[in-house]
């Protein structure tokens, strides 16, 4: 077993963007190869299971409300379908563009990778913009009724995730300008942001299904 240095800066703290970026930086400097094994992707995946359970709790609450709490007479709760459908398409496409970016990175095409990262971040920000437009055009507010509150809580919590994900993408995009920062074999920052982004995308598909279609 190789020498292990517990004080060296090599473990992820959490899945927030700055630490991902930090982790990527450390990895690029080769800190993780000597000694302490790198299980950051496993840790992130476990964290996403936990995060997914938070959403599962919200979904369960929403579906139970749907089943037992009828909308009171006179209360307004109407959603339009076009804008969220466009948003869904944007987010699904962004998953593919991110996948494309990671693929380019594995083939050492750093320039193309950065381009695709930027496209992905742009799609994420476009989603957030669409969400904003929807919020301002809806005929109900946060405290109007149970369904209105649940709608804003669910989409808001998801929107927070999209915001964090877009920030992560922009950070790895910015870091990738440094030559040797991410290589074909070592690119934890990009890999982690990608996993997180697919997770956020998957959660949206469930949200879209139960909030807009059901």
């Amino acid at each position: 077993m190789t020498a292990f240095s517990p004080s060296s800066d090599q473990s992820p703290t959490d899945t927030l963007a700055p630490s991902l970026a930090q982790g990527a930086e450390l990895l690029a400097h080769g800190a993780a190869e000597e000694g302490h094994p790198d299980h950051r992707m496993f840790g992130l995946a476990t964290f996403l299971v936990a995060d997914g359970m938070t959403f599962a709790g919200f979904f369960a609450a929403y579906l139970t409300f749907r089943a037992v709490n009828p909308l009171p007479a006179g209360a307004i709760y109407e959603l339009e379908l076009i804008l969220p459908t466009i948003n869904t398409v944007l987010l699904v496409v962004s998953s593919f563009t991110f996948h494309r970016a990671a693929k380019q990175l594995r083939q050492n095409q750093l320039g193309a990778c950065r381009l695709w990262l930027l496209v992905t971040a742009g799609l994420g920000l476009a989603f957030l913009g669409g969400q904003m437009v929807e919020y301002f055009s809806l005929p109900f507010g946060l405290t109007d009724n149970l369904y209105a509150s649940t709608f804003y809580a669910l989409t808001g919590f998801h929107g927070l995730h999209v915001t964090l994900g877009a920030l992560m993408i922009l950070i790895v995009w910015w870091q990738a300008r440094i030559p040797g920062k991410f290589t074909a074999d070592h690119h934890f920052g990009v890999e982690a942001a990608e996993l997180y982004w697919h997770f956020v995308d998957g959660i949206w598909l469930i949200l879209y299904g139960i909030l807009y279609l059901l």
């Binding site: 517990p6 299971v49 936990a50 609450a61 139970t64 009724n145």
Partner: protein, 556 residues
Amino acid sequence: MTIALPPQTSSSPPGLQPEGWLRYLSFSLDHKVIGLQYMVAGFFFYLVGGALAGMIRVELASPISDFIGRETYNEVLTLHGTVMIFLWIVPVVNGAFGNYLIPFYVGARDMAFPRLNAVAFWLIPPAGFLLIASYFIGGAAQSGWTAYPPLSLTTPAAGQVVWILSVLLLGGSSIFGGINFIATVLKMRRPGLKMMQLPMYCWAMLGTSILVVLSTPVLAGTLVLLSFDIIAHTGFFNPALGGNAVVYQHLFWFYSHPAVYIMVLPAFGLVSEILPVHARKPLFGYTTMVYSILAIVFLGLIVWAHHMFTSATPPWMRLFFTIATAFIAVPTGIKFFNWLATLWGGKIALNSAMLFSCAFILHFVFGGITGVALAQVPFDIHVHDTYFVVGHFHYVVYGGTVFVIFGSIYHWYPKFTGRMLNEDLGRFHFLITFIGFNLCFAPQHWLGLNGMPRRVAEYDPQFTLVNQISSVGALLMALSTLPFLINVFWSAFSGKVAGDNPWNALTPEWLTTSPPPVENWKGEAPLVTHPYGYGVPPGQIDLKAATGRELWSSGQ
């Protein structure tokens, strides 16, 4: 061979960690330092929670509300529950022993994510002080540790919001810890060490951490929604605004029933480490123990609504949750009989660690039986929200887990400090804790069966005598802390020097110095494939036989 000790060659580079006692106040990344930080911080909060419990028992020594006002009583019982669960039992039985022991048990030099580990610990003191401080800034939360709406919506908002914030921080700490334990047990094992060769505490912590990762986030999300109801006046859980209070109960118990296993599964694991050492016998039925833990994890996630039989649960739901709860008695019973079989015919050393562990078995069986009784709808409706539930709960978490924490401190203190605890003081500590605990909580079952409601500062005068007996028991429990504290402080400086392995134990943490060096071993980690190979000549141990009849006879 039982143990393969590689040659002790290279030494760890010096100067990587702060030395001396100051490192316990630092952002240390050493899992042993973090473990002891958890333990000392947790014990501080145990004293706080104990003082709050003392206030409750003083108030209940007389039927009228004379010692503290009704609202203060509500604040005290809320703080007592929250402090004891989130700041004492969960951090100590998971964080303290888990951090200290798991890297040894898997043959690693630290946890998978040392920095995340330190972050998880350092979330706890601010969260704890935040919670206690809420009492001094306009009053603490008054709605109990369950914070059921609409009660939590109608009591003063400031204390309730601070309570939510504090529990969210502690939940975050718990999730970070859980991720770390899962990664450490699954990914950090020494090459050659198989899952079915791990000491039982690893399995217990793996199961516990799965529960933490799956259920704690649900509580966090629910509390965020509850805080919206309080601050933004949304109506998720407020029936007056068209919301549904029962949904809160479902989501809350989806975490808080597994929370009971988060508190007691690690205790199962610790007892499974202590009993074989002091009975000089292999742990009976290793494989069945492992599958029992996994069964408890699975069943623990699908029994939550047995806390809600009086919340207008439909008949099919009552039926399902009654049956599921009764099923949990099966794996738990398997573990109970395995411990008895481990003790059977062993060379039992009745030292403090063993006495606390045996008392745990006794109390946990009693608390388990009342638990199965409470899962039966007709009985539960009769005793719901009475002192019967309080008695049952404390038999599980105090008589169960806290007794194990004390037993574990007696067992591992020589490893922590290099010195033994005083046995006479330890046995004295056990005696008054045991008498005080049973005197305090056994009568509460009778009180509940006769209809005394819980969480009320006043009661029918016919219950006075039994309440006073219970309060005397609480006083004994408070006094029992003194010999323990004296023992811990005195022995740290003047205790008998322990040596590396005072119990002649086979689990890996004893195969290094006491206290262990920064990276656990000088040189390579030992490969321990038979952590319970007691009483059998090394080389004759067959792991497959350690599952049933063969072990029963060969272990004598």
